[in-house]
Each structure stands twice: as C-alpha cells, then as structure tokens.
Symmetry: C2
Subunit: 351 residues, 2 copies
C-alpha cells in the first residue's frame, strides 16, 4: 500500500483530505506544520508528499527544499496545496521542483487524480518506460501531467488543420512543440528526385516536433496533415523546462533518445539489405503495433503513397506486394483499409 504524507496546518482541511485519501486506501501520515512534516518524512519515507505552501514555522518551500537535500526523498513526488490567489507563489514552487499542485478548494476526484498520476509517473520512471519513441510520448504525457496538459491546452492556441495542410517545412525554424488532439499527422523527408520517406506518424495524444527543439538547427523534415487535425501548440520553453527540470526525466529522456538511435540503425540495416517483401511486411507490422487499440487490432487506413513512403519503395511496387500478401492470406483489404490476418507469419517472413 502506498504511503502519503500530508502536511497542512488547517485542521479541517487536513482531516478532510486525509479521510479522502484513506478511503482510496492510501496509508496517510499527517503533519500539522512544516517542521513536523520533514521529521515525519524522514521517519516514514512516504511514496508521495502533499504539502500546503502557507504554513507557520516552516513553509512549503522550506519543506520541499529540505526533502530535496535528502537522497532517499529527493525523488519522491511532491504536490503543493495552494489557494487560487497564490498563483505567483505556485510558479515559484514548480520551479523549485514540485511535481504538481492542487488549488484549494478542491474536489476528491481532483485530489485523487493528481495523486494517482504522480504516483504512476514515479513508478514509470523507476520501472522504465516503453522503448523507443513510444516511451517519449509516454514520458511527456505523464510529465506534463493531466493537470499541466489541460492547462496548457486550455490556455494556449489550438490550431485546426485540414488534410494535406503543411504544419512545418524543411528549413523552418522550430520554436514550439506540437500535441495532437485529434486527427493524424505525418513527418517526412524528400529526396532530390522528390521521393518521399515517411519518418513518423502521429495520432491523438502524441507529441511531435521535439527533436529539433533539442538542437539549434532548423527542421529537416516536413510535417503534413493526413486527416483533419486539431493540434495544440506548446511553447518550446515549456518543453525545455520539462526536459531539463528534473534529472530523472532528463535521464529517461536521454535513454529514450539512445534507444531511438539504435532503432534507426536497425531500420537502416533493413533499408539497405531487405527485399521489397520484407520491407513492406515490416512496415505493416510496425503500423499494426501502433494502431493496436485495447479492443483488438484496428485496420490500417493509409493511402498507398504514404504506405510506400513508410516502407521506402515505389507506390506501384507496394501495391503489388500488398496483392501478393492478400493472395497469400496474410492480410485482407477492404475499401483500401488493410486488416492483417497473420501477423506472426508476416513478421517472420524470410528475405
């Protein structure tokens, strides 16, 4: 059972909050001021700390600072409790390294959501994320947090893009991060001959355009909308704050980038030596994995041109290979949408 330390000077709020948490079967330790809070933290080593900012003796910042000086507590998620009016103070808290905040008055759901999401985040960071760019998405999702993300998305620009519209082009200067709310986007590079290689596809709840933000260069690919999309624009500062803010996150992020490099090298091997059949099969398997929802696999719905761009081949060649696969009962095609019948055989195709 997860142990939560609650530090709050107001008796009513403290008892009330503790009750809610206990009902959600958390073990709760309470402290009535900052000093006592730090003592209890050192004694109990809680899994999460919820702490008021305005308190006598030792305020919330002090508590945060104290906990960060202890190796065993510095990675413990820290949530500030704050009144709506203290918005400026809150920023300060976040910059000091708090993970989230809850504004008083708050509902039980709000509280539990914040607690859950922070605990989950912590767990994920410890147990390791999914490999590859999947993991980056996961990491950014939990790091921005439901809270922050909602705030960001609510406050800032949400753009709607039509199919075929270009979001950014090669050579443009990157200064923001994109978050897909709905629709589908691809990023692609073009050859001198105009042949296109699709580098990635992005759907709802995915981030893109972060790689160029990490360097000082321009975009080296083009982002284009495949299906009408709503996209939230997040200023690059927010992204940098996230990535550089917390060492654990930075480290995870670096691990994911390293992973990605190795994946790309694997792909390179495939591009260099694989037969057309194998290239197409691998592209299909990759897409299948990406679009596998909780409720079973979803048919792949992409134009042949884009599919060819993913596999790295000519459109006609791709189509021929698809028909071959169909006649081999590896997949079915219905109104252009591809349903994979025998993923295993497809994945283990010989060259």
């Amino acid at each position: 059972m997860k142990k939560i330390l609650l530090i709050e000077d107001n008796d009513d709020i403290r008892t009330n909050t503790a009750e809610i948490l206990e009902l959600a079967s958390y073990e709760v330790v309470v402290a009535e001021n900052g000093k006592r809070g730090v003592e209890l933290a050192l004694e109990h080593l809680p899994d999460l700390v919820i702490c008021d900012i305005m308190m006598p003796v030792l305020d919330g910042y002090g508590v945060l600072h104290a906990l960060h000086r202890n190796d065993r507590l510095k990675n413990t998620p820290f949530i500030f409790l704050t009144a709506k009016t203290e918005r400026a103070d809150l920023r300060k808290g976040m910059e000091l390294g708090a993970d989230d905040y809850i504004t008083k008055p708050f509902s039980g759901t709000e509280l539990l959501n914040a607690v859950d999401s922070r605990l989950k985040k912590c767990e994920l960071l410890q147990t390791g994320l999914q490999p590859g760019m999947e993991g980056v998405q996961q990491l950014m999702g939990i790091s921005f947090g439901d809270h922050d993300l909602a705030g960001i998305v609510a406050d800032r620009d949400i753009n709607t893009y039509k199919k075929k519209q270009v979001i950014y082009m090669e050579g443009h200067h990157p200064n923001r991060l994109f978050y897909v709310l709905s629709g589908k986007v691809k990023t692609a590079k073009r050859n001198d001959d105009g042949k296109e290689l699709v580098t990635a596809l992005y759907g709802p709840d995915e981030f893109f355009g972060y790689l160029p933000l990490l360097q000082q260069t321009v975009y080296r690919e083009t982002a284009e909308v495949l299906e009408d999309a709503e996209i939230a624009i997040i200023p690059s500062e927010d992204f940098h704050k996230l990535v550089n803010g917390n060492l654990a996150i930075t480290r995870s992020f670096m691990g994911l980038l390293a992973q990605n490099i190795q994946d790309k090298e694997e792909q390179l091997l495939g591009m260099a030596y694989n037969s057309l059949r194998k290239k197409v099969a691998e592209a299909l398997v990759m897409l299948q994995k990406k679009y596998r929802k909780d409720g079973g696999p979803v048919p792949i719905d992409l134009s042949r041109e884009n599919l060819a761009g993913i596999a790295g081949t000519a459109t006609e060649s791709l189509i021929r290979t698809l028909s071959d696969f169909r006649s081999e009962k590896l997949l079915e095609i219905d109104h252009g949408r591809i349903t994979i019948l025998d993923e295993k055989r497809l994945a283990n195709l010989l060259n």
Copy 2:
C-alpha cells in the same frame, strides 16, 4: 583577454602562479583568502577560478559553494589547488562541482594545460559543439579532460586487441565505455542473410559503446577490430557520472543525440532511394571528412568489404562503382588506398 581569479593564501605560491598566468597573457586577479576571493569574483566575474582548498577564514569548498549560488558564476570553470596528501578532500571537491584540480607542487605547463582545457571546454559548451557523433566525441574528450582521462587511462585496464578480434557482440551486456588509444575499430550489424552494415568507425581518441550504456538493453551491434588496437576500458559509472553530473553537459549530450537521430533519418532516406553510385559517393565523402587531418586529406584505407558495409551494398558492386569513379577521375586508387580527387563533384553527384 581571459580573466582568471586566483585564490591562494601562501604568498610565494600566489605570486609565482600569477606570474606564470600573466606570462601566458591572462589577466589575473589575486585574492589572499576565500572571503576576499568571493568578493573579487562577484566584482570581476572572471572566466575561470583557481582556488586553494586549505585556507583560513573561508576554505575552498566554501568558495565553490558560494560561487555556485550565483547565477552568473555557477558555470565558471573552477580548478582546485591541492597538496598531494589531500587526495580524499579532492574527491569531495570534485563531487561538489569543481571542474579540475592541480596538485601542488605543479609545473607551469601543468597549470597552463589545465587552464586552457577548462576554458576551451567552457567555450565549447557555450558556442555549441560540432553536430553529430563528432560532437559527442568532442564533448566526452573535453569533459573527461586531459587530466581525468590520463588518470583513467593510466589507472585502469588497457587492452590490446588484434585485427579481426571481437570486442563485444550483439546480445552481450554492456557495462563499460571504450576509448580507443590507437588502431581502428568498427561497429556493425548483421542481416539474417549475413550481410553486414557498418554503423560506425572509431579511431584514436574516440569513444564508443556509450549508446547501450544509456539504456537498459544489451548490445545490438558487434564491435570488431580493423587494425590492431589499444583500447582503454572505462567503467560505466564514470561515464554516467559525467553525463549526469553537469546539467550543461547533459543538455549538450541530449542535443547531440537528437542531432544523431536526424542524421540517421537522413541516411535512411539515402539508403531507401539513392542509387548505388550515390550511396558509394556519400560513404566516401563521409570517410574523407572523418579522415581529413589538419595537414590535408588522408587516403581512405579500408577493405572493400568494409567499404561495402558502410555504403550498404555488395562488395562487387562497390568495387565496380569505385572503378567507374576512377575512370571518371573522381578518385585515385593506390595499393587499395583511395584518394579522393574531386570531393565536390563526388558530393554533388546526381542520383
């Protein structure tokens, strides 16, 4: 002109050291104790600080701590002066965030080397590194520093490997970083059919095997010696300490990884759609860049098999293309070694 702050309580050493630095045309500000040192630091904002550890009033650790609390001074390189006997203290200093140390008594060269290398490091971190994996090498070189590197290499295992010997294989568990002292090493992946793609080449003063250290996986490539090599083995902890130790380094490192991903995507585009001629040409240009020494270009001396592995093609095809290029006067071949005659035309070859 670079400004250096020297903090040292012993009059002789102080005057002496200051003279050496002034002779090397640095502007030197001296302080006779820690307290005065901090005052002068805040006043002059030096480019580098050299500071004794054992001092009355405020010792070296205190100075370091004080400077780190100031935003404009916290990135200033900090070098400790220490007597040989104080080795334990020294570790403490490095952990507190000092960049280097010099043991008393020291020679003028020692002093100037340390100063130069630290200033260079700082400059590089500020102005940005060379893009791509080149930059990683650069970063790690300056970060470990001549000093540390020498120590590491002297203290630990240096292995000598013979040609064709395998350093690590796909599937092995990574637990160290490699540093090439002499010789040449390649890392490569193999296809199911046994076709090989060379992912990277490493020569003297280059590091390799760091990507898998950043993740929790096994090697996904094989490292093999091309020319008899001496390789220093660095424990992974040292690498992690470096990468995670300093936020500026972490950030640079992340930028370099991001850059690398984009480079790999560029390569992917090439592998997918480029003609054999172009693939070979690009491989050659890449190698030429890598082996361009200060004193003009050096001929490329690699087996045809490895060259083919780099370009991602069959050996025979590579050879044919090379002969074509030779008859087009793009390059010369002498005893198997390739000298590029017209790099520009080679780079701008159409597909």
